[in-house]
Symmetry: C2
Subunit: 194 residues, 2 copies
């Protein structure tokens, strides 16, 4: 079912959403191939069109592909002791997802209802990134654990702003699909009462 997408001449496989969700995976091993600019553009376009509370779009993306800087940024995800997230050091692209102030309506609504809508928005847009990447044959991984202060300094992000997530991006070293371990449906769904 492989085919050329209608626009842009990007070679994508047309898969239904069910298949796409299965293909998307947290990729923790990348090979050395660089990511084509046109693929990055397409991924960012999927993010641009993501929905958000009151259409706030409370996000900015800093795409880091300059090798020295990327290594330093990837370094902020590697713990000093446990050394998790080392796979980020292989990823050809790192994306820092910066939270921007939501619209006043989203902010007030969030205050009244005691909910941080912008964090849900960040989740939505990050998943748009990962799903679009998966369709284009790329691996990605959302990372929440990193030295945010250092990342902010490296990318010249103003000190008041948060970076809820970083996302690694690149061609997976293996195309073997891991089995997804999830709760059974019966544990997560009920009808008409909790």
């Amino acid at each position: 079912m492989a085919r050329f997408a209608q626009e842009g001449g990007l070679f994508t496989e047309c898969m239904d959403f069910h298949k796409l969700v299965q293909v998307r995976d947290s990729c923790r091993k990348y090979d050395t191939r660089p990511v084509e600019k046109e693929k990055i553009d397409r991924i960012l376009e999927a993010c641009r069109l993501a929905p958000s509370a009151c259409n706030s779009q409370p996000w900015k993306f800093v795409v880091v592909d300059e090798p020295g800087l990327r290594d330093q940024l990837a370094g902020t995800t590697v713990g000093p002791m446990l050394k998790f997230n080392r796979f980020c050091l292989q990823a050809p692209v790192m994306v820092a997802l910066v939270a921007e102030p939501p619209s006043w309506l989203s902010k007030i609504g969030g205050k009244v209802k005691d909910k941080d809508f912008y964090l849900m928005d960040i989740g939505i847009v990050a998943e748009h990134l990962c799903l679009q990447a998966a369709e284009l044959g790329l691996g990605s991984c959302m990372i929440g654990w990193f030295d945010e202060k250092k990342a902010r300094q490296l990318l010249h992000i103003p000190s008041g702003k948060r970076i809820p997530l970083m996302i690694s991006l690149g061609y997976p070293a293996s195309d073997k699909q891991r089995k997804k371990i999830r709760k059974p449906m019966s544990e997560m769904v009920s009808y008409n009462r909790y």
Copy 2:
């Protein structure tokens, strides 16, 4: 390009992710057609497979399709004065997305890094719901503004649990696609520095 999906015999249009993202829309007008059980199952399966911080899966879905109860639940989204969200009263299905406690690792990580990972997870899984619904020809709308206490009582949700979102679901009354109003790419993306 319409075709039958491989499993389940559900009639879905195979569209690439770019197209799917464009088709997904906040639907605020539903017609009277009920939603087929097999479509609801498929939507919930897309949610079940969603990623989450430390694979916590910190969510439960209460699907409300019993007419009397659904009307009452939809009523909790309609403000007493401004009467927004009235469209929920037409939706044949309402889904309450309940936040469940995340895993201890996600919780501790969130505490140390001062981030509510579970809210990002809720955003991710809610968008899986809406995207899968869109592929199946259904409209959906995430709603963050509702009387949470009343919703909790109606669905017998324990008082300590939060409902970050409700989602309305049904066949759209119109298949006209609204133009998406979004910031230009240049306002949301930069390379190698903020």
